[in-house]
Symmetry: C2
Subunit: 287 residues, 2 copies
């Protein structure tokens, strides 16, 4: 396996890894995400990463391949595994390529992801999750993916994190939602309420509970987070389902709490290890 | 029945009516809602209304009785009819009083309304709806009330309109949602999607459908409105339910479209006639 540089190029942040024989030997992380880099500046950005991490072939994954990134790379349609993704690489030059995202359609419904596919399939490639599994990558736009035979066969994105951020920043609930979210009884009450799948009414009840003095606003953010994550999780899992979570520890713990409360079982996966395994496998397949 | 002045004093707007023998003989409407009037200015505001509409007793309903209004008037607990509301009037002086709002609790859930109760119960008092009925008053915070024997026995508020406004103004969907909402096939597709009650995922699909070129963004706002109203309505009605709608014609038509599509029947009620009937009955009961 040849040495190369892999970049997980998100909307806000960017992480770059120098990988030798499948292991990270150097890395950097900064806020030069796609939202902060103009299309004409990517060549210089890539040259800068090579200057710091080594003059090596590079694979770029994530929003770098979107219409807010370097250039739009067509989505690969699910079902797809790492082979289909490697075959869909968009080659900028003979040693720089962008990883395509995935699309999924069923009937009128449609979904897309860019970047998460490397971690999700990398987790399988690294043996961190079984070849048939359900994976969850929480965030602003939470991804839930079903993997069968090592390929992503279907997935759903829920804008759970974005709804929470909107409600916290704007509108009638914003004054109640300033406190930190904690995995405790208020969060779990929210999960149970979320399982009723009546979001617009359950959210107003946060205001009513505050106005009537039934609930302390100190717990309102935890309740609201539980409500949104509970509604998301209820729509995704049956009791008994095993879910493999790729997330930072704090957000991962909230999703695990909701999954456990709703009768599933949760397993935490090292998302950096998953990304490195996935991108290394794509590099090998493309060599 | 004596002459009096009734004010429907909302958050943003205010309507005042001079009522003689149950009929409106003069009225005014302006933007001096509770959000735009300081607590210490209400005496002068009320004097101004009397100067314009007549030196008469006054009943004030709505957000004037909230913590952003003149003063906080305790809620009357549902079940409640016009008699309980008249008994809960907050008398400012011997000819000026504020109408209390309603609260409703069941288990951990809680809800409140201020102002809508006059229209909802007034519709029953005027014979515009039966004494046992389901009523819907759409808006930023949509109210759904069950009336039994002429009293509101339970109600639910859904922040459907507020969620739509937040998504249109902020966040990843805002660029797609600028077009006007129309009651057509995109709206009805949204209603059907909303009936799945998976709001956070259905909302993200609007972005995916746009990115993949499956749906024209010109219809995205109609789809999103149908989605939110459909999710709200599905949670509230069984097939065959009759719903009496109090709303402006445009918003009322959207809710009627969703109710009809989901197997219910809808009836439009004149909300000003309902308010006048309700507030006149409260004035009579309090005399």
């Amino acid at each position: 396996m040849g040495d190369f540089i892999a970049v997980d190029w998100g909307t806000t942040n960017r992480r770059a890894f120098r990988i030798e024989d499948g292991s990270v030997v150097a890395s950097e992380r900064d806020d030069r995400g796609a939202a902060n880099v103009a299309a004409e500046d990517y060549e210089a950005e890539v040259a800068g990463i090579r200057a710091r991490l080594g003059d090596l072939p590079m694979l770029l994954a994530g929003m770098v391949g979107s219409n807010i990134g370097w250039r739009s790379v067509p989505y690969v349609a699910a079902p797809a595994g790492l082979g289909e993704i490697a075959a869909g690489l968009d080659r900028i030059d003979d040693r720089t390529a962008i990883v395509p995202g995935l699309s999924y359609r069923y009937g009128l419904h449609a979904d897309v992801m860019r970047g998460e596919e490397v971690q999700l399939l990398g987790a399988v490639a690294a043996g961190l999750v079984p070849a048939d599994a359900m994976l969850c990558q929480p965030g602003t736009h939470c991804k839930w993916a079903t993997v069968e035979g090592g390929a992503i066969t279907r997935f759903t994105t829920a804008m759970t994190g974005e709804l929470f951020a909107l409600l916290r920043a704007h509108g009638v609930l914003s004054r109640q939602l300033g406190h930190p979210v904690e995995l405790g009884s208020a969060f779990l009450e929210g999960v149970a309420e979320g399982a009723r799948r009546d979001l617009a009414a359950s959210l107003f009840a946060i205001r009513a509970r505050g106005v009537l003095g039934i609930a302390d606003d100190a717990h309102a953010a935890s309740f609201a987070s539980g409500l949104l994550i509970g509604a998301d999780t209820t729509a995704r899992i049956e009791p008994g389902a095993a879910v493999h979570i790729l997330a930072d520890p704090a957000l991962g713990a909230l999703y695990a709490g909701a999954i456990d409360a709703l009768g599933g079982t949760s397993h935490h996966i090292d998302s950096q290890a998953a990304f490195v395994a996935g991108i290394t496998r794509i590099q090998d397949l493309a060599a």
